[in-house]
Amino acid sequence: MSDEEQIWGHLERMRRIRSLEEKITELRATNQIVGSVHLCNGQEAIYVGACAALDLTRDAVFPTYRGHGWAVACGVPPHAILAELLGRSTGISGGRGGSAYFTAPDYGFYGENSIVGAGAPIATGAALAATFDGSGRVAVASFGDGALNQGAVHEAMNFAAVRSLPVIFIVENNGYSELTPISAMVKVDQLFRRANAYGMPGARVDGNDPVAVSAAVAQAVERARRGKGPVLLEMITQRLVGHYIGDVQHYRPEGELAAIAKVEPIVRLEQRLIGLGRTRPELDDLHTAVRNEIDDAAAAALGDQLAPTNTVLEHLYA
């Protein structure tokens, strides 16, 4: 595959995520989807770049409540995600997980997590198991900048480092924890430097460039598979939307939204592809095709049955 084809593929997947989030925004506005929904608009390059470097037949990602993008990048069908958010029986978790807590292990997507930081020790534990079965599996724990201040993340990193476990810690540094800027919550805002404390490599990555993300993750995966242990990758990015749908973002400094709209990954990737000879109509066609695909998925999900209530007590225990 040429570079250009690869980048085209990245763009397609990033567009798919963005279109899904836009569709979800619509469905939330009309209260067809209810409850808290955390969108990842603007952070798509991380998911697409990382998943391109993983072997999802065996590797696994452990994201947060802001997980739709990871799920799509892992290959979870948008229909199954939309159906989940709509409480349909076809939802990937049968409506039990909702927007913030669904799981799709068949796709290497080992579940969202709505407790900040809790996924880090879980991913580390998965990596631990991988060191015993010769599978070469690698686990990716992904969480936000704010999550780095949670005790569980600290414990996971030390544990992973001391046992050289095949886990990659990805920090999606979008600058905010909910409504509070990370710069007000840490003294050293080069978050990757925390890696040193644990004796593992840490690096900053342009989280708006899927190619850069992919390269960094590929290197980390290769290291992990060789038994060299964990890495902390701080991906610099931004969310183009609120923390949750409905967040009025009064905490954003004047002009910030306009500024980040210019550097967001899809805009950048399209510019790059134009530089490589693709045309605006081609890009628009791609956009349209993906949008249609998502529209169809939504229509199908809306047509599906609600998850049955008569099985709601099942699967509590084996």
Binding site: R96, M185, L313
Partner: protein, 342 residues
């Protein structure tokens, strides 16, 4: 005597008013938590407080151990912290600081030190919320001697119980409910004397059965009472308000009159606070006309889809059914013995 003022306030505004008063009247009060200061809280409950009171209201990292432990430590140095744990579910990452730390301070020091902290949190399901944002955990806190726990459900109680908690010299967990924050505004009395812990409140008087409840289930309970009233069953509804200490005297007095007891709460039935109330009544040996009934969430995790959650969380209909079962099916046993039901 302070001047009392009547003002219209939602549940959230009542909490905000209580926090404002505490900050104004007691210089040792600090208010902190995640997103509470500059953003004014994820539910807008603490809006404007930092503007008014400056750095005594501040934002915290996502570090619940630091929030709760920070409150305990600040208390040892004379501050009176009112901290927010955004969801009761999140307290589980740092429960040590409440159970192993705050609850012990006064007892071990024989009163030389205290832990005059107030933990504001909120809990329960709301449409679409996932299993990690839907639990009702009061039973966990209520099992711990040294802690106090209340669950206000009206704007007036939201104001009063919070002030009582802040004024209290012992660690108190105020469990709010996010589905109530932005409900109707009602007249509340503010500025009056801060009350001591004053137990349960009878929300509806009745003579056939005592229905004990708390938290947002109260509204389902009152609805259920209205429904069965049309069928001739007269329900007394008691809002416990305080879960620890537990005002069982009010419950016993009511059950003594009605001879029947139903308990409804959103928490899981198994091991819920309803069990403690049932046990106290059973221990007391009151003559009951029919067996005690509990209405809570069955053994399940809380599913996110609203219709699935509704299938497991106590509703007015399920409460009404339980009341009917207690009052109608067991009417034949109304001779003072405890009857078996099947």
């Amino acid at each position: 005597m302070p001047d009392t003022v009547i003002k219209r306030a939602s549940y959230a505004e009542a909490i905000n008013a209580a926090l404002g008063r505490a900050l104004r009247e007691r210089s040792e009060v600090l208010v902190f938590g995640e997103d509470v200061a500059l953003p004014g809280g994820v539910f807008g409950v603490t809006k404007g407080l930092q503007r008014q009171f400056g750095d005594r209201v501040f934002d915290m990292p996502i570090s619940e151990s630091a929030i709760l432990g920070g409150a305990v430590g600040a208390g040892l140095f004379g501050a009176r912290s009112v901290v927010e744990i955004m969801w009761a579910d999140f307290s589980l990452v740092a429960l040590d600081q409440l159970v192993n730390q705050a609850a012990n301070v006064r007892y071990i020091s024989r009163g030389m030190l205290a832990s005059p902290i107030t933990v504001r949190t909120q809990q329960g399901n709301a449409p679409g919320a996932c299993a990690q944002h839907s639990q009702s955990l009061e039973a966990l806190f209520a099992h711990i001697p040294g802690l106090q726990v209340c669950m206000p459900t009206t704007p007036q109680d939201a104001y009063d119980l919070l002030l009582t908690s802040i004024w209290s010299d012992d660690p108190t967990i105020v469990i709010e409910n996010r589905t109530l924050y932005h409900g109707d505004k009602v007249d509340i009395t503010t500025g009056g004397p801060v009350q001591p812990i004053d137990g349960a409140q009878v929300r509806r008087q009745g003579s056939d059965i005592t229905l004990v409840t708390w938290g947002s289930t109260q509204f389902a309970a009152l609805d259920a009472a209205s429904v069965v009233a049309r069928e001739g069953i007269d329900v007394e509804v008691i809002d416990m308000r305080w879960i620890r200490p537990l005002d069982h005297e009010t419950v016993l007095a009511s059950v003594e009159r009605t001879g029947r007891l139903a308990i409804a709460h959103e928490a899981h039935t198994t091991g819920g606070v309803g069990a403690e109330i049932a046990a106290r009544v059973a221990e007391h040996g009151l003559r009951l006309t029919s067996p005690i009934v509990r209405i809570g969430t069955p053994d399940v995790r809380i599913p996110a889809a609203p219709h699935l959650a509704q299938a497991v969380i106590p509703s007015a209909a399920r409460i009404a059914d339980a009341i009917r079962r207690a009052c109608v099916l067991n009417a034949s046993f109304a001779g003072g013995t405890v009857a078996s039901h099947g």
